[in-house]
Amino acid sequence: MSTVAMDARAGQVTAPFYVKAALQKAAPTGSAFCRVRNMPGAYGAVVTVVCATGTVVEIGPPADQAAWLPIHGGAYRFLPPVSLAGVMSGDSDMDTGLGTVTSWRVFKVAGRDFLEMTVRW
């Protein structure tokens, strides 16, 4: 006579643990807008959002005069000089700083570089 050991599970056991978090609200601006200093993808920028929905309405420079992270996509402002004909007159005396550009990119097409900027109000 032979016997077969069946792997019938004997039972279950449960172990407890805890999940913990603290919530700190984004700094209010005195209106319906809130500022967020560590928004992922903002590369250090201080982002203003609608408090109720989180919709980004503005991107500002890093807090405490911190330098921008050298990553493509920062909220830079470029003021290239143009001639009266509306043609960019070169890269000298270009005024650069912080602005309200929400996105930009450089892309190459047929060996030429194009700067695409998206601006929000």
Binding site: A15, V19, K20
Partner: protein, 165 residues
């Protein structure tokens, strides 16, 4: 006339000597038992999956924390298993979702890693096999959370992990 002879015999004495011969004698008996195998939560306070401070619309200080849970099982019992829905459904979903201060998080469990016990000897029982599971949490960025004041918490929510053996 016949002569009659009557004769009788009598025991003059009985001598008896006793000695004790050193030796042993054995009494055999059986010892029997049955065993129902079990797994039990290892001793110690329940651990905490701590996401730290979350800035609304930002991210958690620790967006992917992890903890370990260890179970001690009868020696030689096959490793326990976890189902696809091993968490409690009381303070979240059995798949591992949940919220704390209005912030949504998910959990994933991996393992177990094992530390096998020792076999029994003629004078020492077997020791338990230990199986350890790791739970990793994920709290996504950009959440508003829920808080009526400038800050809330830290808030702790109780969860459980269930294994089968």
């Amino acid at each position: 006339m016949m002569k009659r002879f009557l004769a009788g015999a009598a025991v003059a004495g009985i001598a008896f000597a006793s000695t004790a011969q050193a030796g042993t004698t054995n009494g055999a008996f059986n010892v029997s038992a049955s065993l129902n195998s079990e797994c039990a939560v290892a001793a110690g306070a329940p651990p905490t999956l701590d996401f730290g401070v979350y800035t609304a619309f930002g991210s958690a200080a620790t967006p992917n924390p992890s903890i370990t849970l260890t179970f001690n099982c009868t020696h030689k019992l096959p490793a326990p298993t976890v189902s696809g829905t091993p968490f409690d459904g009381t303070n979240g979903t059995t798949a591992g979702g949940g919220t704390v201060v209005g912030l949504f998080y998910t959990m994933a469990v991996t393992g177990p890693t094992s530390a096998l016990g020792t076999d029994a000897t003629t004078s020492a029982g077997a020791t338990a096999d230990a199986f350890t599971y790791t739970i990793t949490g994920t709290m996504g960025a950009g959440q508003p959370g829920q808080c009526t004041t400038a800050s809330c918490g830290p808030t702790t929510v109780g969860r459980t992990l269930t294994i089968s053996f």
